[in-house]
Amino acid sequence: MVKKALTSIHDLFNKYIMCFIKGDLSTRLSGLIMGFGMFTRGQIIKGLAYLFFQITFILFMIIRGLDYIIGLQTLGTVGQTRIFDEVRGIYVVYPGDNSMLMLLFGVATIFVVISFFLVYLSNLKTCYANQVSINNGIRPRNFRQEIDFYLNEKYHVTILTIPVIGTFMFTILPLIFMILIAFTNFDKNHQPPGNLFTWVGFNNFKDALWNDPLKSTTFFGLLIWTLVWAVLATALNYILGMILALMINKKGIKLKKFWRTIFVITIAVPQFVSLLLMSQLLADQGTLNVILRQLGFVKDFFPFLSNGDVAKFTVIIVNLWVGVPYSMLITSGILMNIPVDLYESAKIDGANARVQFMKITLPYMLFVTGPYLITQFIGNINNFNVIYLLTGGGPLTLNYYQAGKTDLLVTWLYKLTVNEQNYSLASTIGIFIFLLSAFFSLLVYNKTSSAKKEDEFQ
C-alpha cells in the first residue's frame, strides 16, 4: 500500500520533469504562467481558466493563505486582553488569536495548496500534450470538443466534481480537523476565543491508555462493553430477524403481508420518538413498573435502566425491538431465493428442520449478507441513538470518568464534547473508534470474496 503510493508519487514527478525536459518554450513557460501553452495553441478559454485559477491562488496566498499556514505551527500566541478604558468606564475586550479557526483555516489552506499543485501539474501535462499532438499534426481540442470530451471520455470528472467537493467540505476537511484536535489540548480550560490551545503531541492518547488511571479505566471498560454490545446486538438481531422471517414466510402461514406490515410500522416511527418513549416506559417510576406493581410482581420497582447490569440487558432487548424488523425485512427477501432443491435433497437424506437450518439456511444467508453484517457491526459500534436516547449512557458509576455503565465509546465521545467541552479527549476516542471499526472490517473483508466479485455481473 505504502509502496504503491510512493511509486505513484514518483511517477507524478517523473511526468512533471519530463514536461520540462522535453517541452518547448511555451510548455516551459506554462510552468511559470499557467495556461500559456494553451493560449499559444488555440485553447483560449481553457488557458484563461487556468490563468484565472493561478492568479486567484497567488492573491489568496498573499492576502491570507501564508498567514494561515504559519499560524498552524503555534495555533496562536496572542491571548484575549482586557484594558480599562477610563472614558467609557469599562474593561474593553480585545480579541486575541482564535486557535480553533487558525487550525481550521490552516488545514483548509493546505488543501488549497495541494489542489493548486494538482491543477498546476495538469496544466503542465496538458500543455505538453498539446505540444506533442501539434508535432504529430493533430490540432488540440477546441472549446466545443473539450465539452464533448468531458461529456464522454472524461465524464467521470464532470459528474464527480460536485460530489467530491461536497464530500470534501462536509466530510474530509472536518474529519482531518477533528483528528488534529486529538493532538492538542482543546478542552474547557483552553477554549477559544477566550483562551488559546496548542499542540501537545500524543498526551491525550497516553491519558486514555495508561497515564490517567480514571480515564484509562473508563476507556477500557467502555471498549469492552462496546464490543460486547456490538457483537450481541448484531448477532441477536440477525438471528432473531431471520427466525421471524422464516416464520412469516413458512408455507401455510396466513396474512403474511399483515404480519410484515406490523413490524415495518415500528421501523417508520422515528427512533428518537420510539426510544424516548421506551425510556419513559422502562423508568423506575415508568408505566411498565406501574403495571408490574399493580400485578404484584414487584414491591417497589424493577431497575430496568437504573442498575448497571440490568440496564445492559435492557438496552440489548430494546435494540431487538428496534432492529429485528430491519433484519426480518432483509433476510426474508433472500430466504425466498435459496434454491428449493437444496432442501429437497436434504430431506431425502433425512435431515430435520434444525439440521436444515444449520447446514443450508444459515451458511447461505451468511454468504449473501456478509457485507451487510459488517456494516451492521460497525453501525452498532457507533450506535449512538439507542444508547443515548434510552439510558443516556446511565446509570453513572463512580468508577468511570464522565460515563455510565451502558455508555458506548461513541456516546462517551458525545458527552465529552457537549457536557465537558473536552474536545481533545473526544477526538482521541473518535480515532480509537475508527481504528476499531477499521480493524474488524479488514478482518472480515479479507475473509469474504464479496469485495472482489463486483465485476461478475457485467
Binding site: 481550521l104 464533448d148 461529456l151 464522454n152 465524464y155 467521470h156 459528474i159 464527480l160 460530489p163 467530491v164 461536497g166 464530500t167 462536509f170 466530510t171 476537511l173 472536518p174 474529519l175 480537523f177 477533528m178 416464520m247 410484515r260 406490523i262 413490524f263 410500522i265 421501523i267 417508520a268 416511527v269 422515528p270 428518537f272 420518538v273 424516548l276 418513549l277 419513559q280 416506559l281 417510576q285 408505566t287 403495571i291 424488523p325 432483509i330 426474508s332 427477501g333 433472500i334 425466498m336 431465493n337 449473501v368 460497525i378 457507533n382 465521545l413 464534547t417 474536545y423 473526544a426 477526538s427 473518535g430 475508527f434 471499526s437 477499521a438 472490517s441 463486483e454 455481473f457 457485467q458
Partner: protein, 283 residues
Amino acid sequence: MKNMRTQERIANGFIHSILGILSFVWILPIFWLVLISFRKEPGSYTSYILPKSYTFDNYIKLFTDTSLFNYPRWFLNTLIVAICTAAVSTILVLMTSYALSRLRFKMRKPMMNIALILGMFPGFMAMIAIYHILKSFGLTQTLFALVLVYSGGAAMGYYISKGFFDTIPKAIDESAMLDGANKNTIFWKITLPLSKPIVIYTILMSFMGPWMDFIFVSVIMKDNYQNYTVALGLYRMLSRENIFMYFTRFAAGAVLIAIPISILFIYMQKFYVSGITGGSTKG
C-alpha cells in the same frame, strides 16, 4: 400422511400464536404513544395506565397554541429542508454511484476505499468543524445550511445504488454507444430510466433523514427557534422543564410525523430490501 398434516397444522397454529404475541409486543409501544396523544391529563409518569379522559386538544393545540412551540412552522421547515435535501442528495448519490459503477478511471478504486474509510469515523465527531466551515460562509442558522449538511456528504452513501447499477447489463450501454450516444446521454436517458426503484429509494431515504435528526440541527440552529425542525422541536418538548406539560402534545406531534413516514416506508420497503442486498433478491 394424515398424521404429518396434523403435525403441520399444529406447528402452523403455534407459529401463528407466536406471531400474534410478537406483533402485540412490537405494536404495544406505538399503541401506547397513540393513547398518550389522546390523553387529557398532563404528565409523563402517571400511576395508572389507561388515560382517565380523552381529548383531541393535544393535536389541535399543536397548530393553534404556537407561542412556545411553533409546530406548524417547524413542520413546514422540515418539509422544505426534506424536499431540497432529497433533490440535492439524490442527484449527488446517483452521479457518484453511476461513475463508480459504469465508468473506469484511475482514481475509481482509491475513491471507493477512501469512502469506505471515511464511513468508519463516528459522524458527529466532525460536527463542530462543519459548523465553523458553514459559519465562515455566513450560512449558520439557516435552512439552507441544513440542506447543505444533510446532502453535502451524501455522495458517501453511493454504495446501495452502485450495487443496483452494477446489475444493469453493460450490453445496453454498448449498443447505445454504437448509436453514437455519449456517456452523458447514456446516464440520463438510459441508465436512470432503467433504475426507477433505486431512484425512488434514494429520494425517499434522503427525504426521511431530516425528519429523524435532532443532533445536527441543534448544532446548526442553536438559538434560532424559528428555524428548528420538527424533530428538534419535539425533542425540546421533553426537556426537564417542559416534559410535564408537553408530554401528551409531544406524543401527538410524534404521531403526526410517524403517519406519513410509515406510509412512505411501507410503500418503499421492497426497494429498501433490494437496495441493501444489492438487487439480488425479489422482495
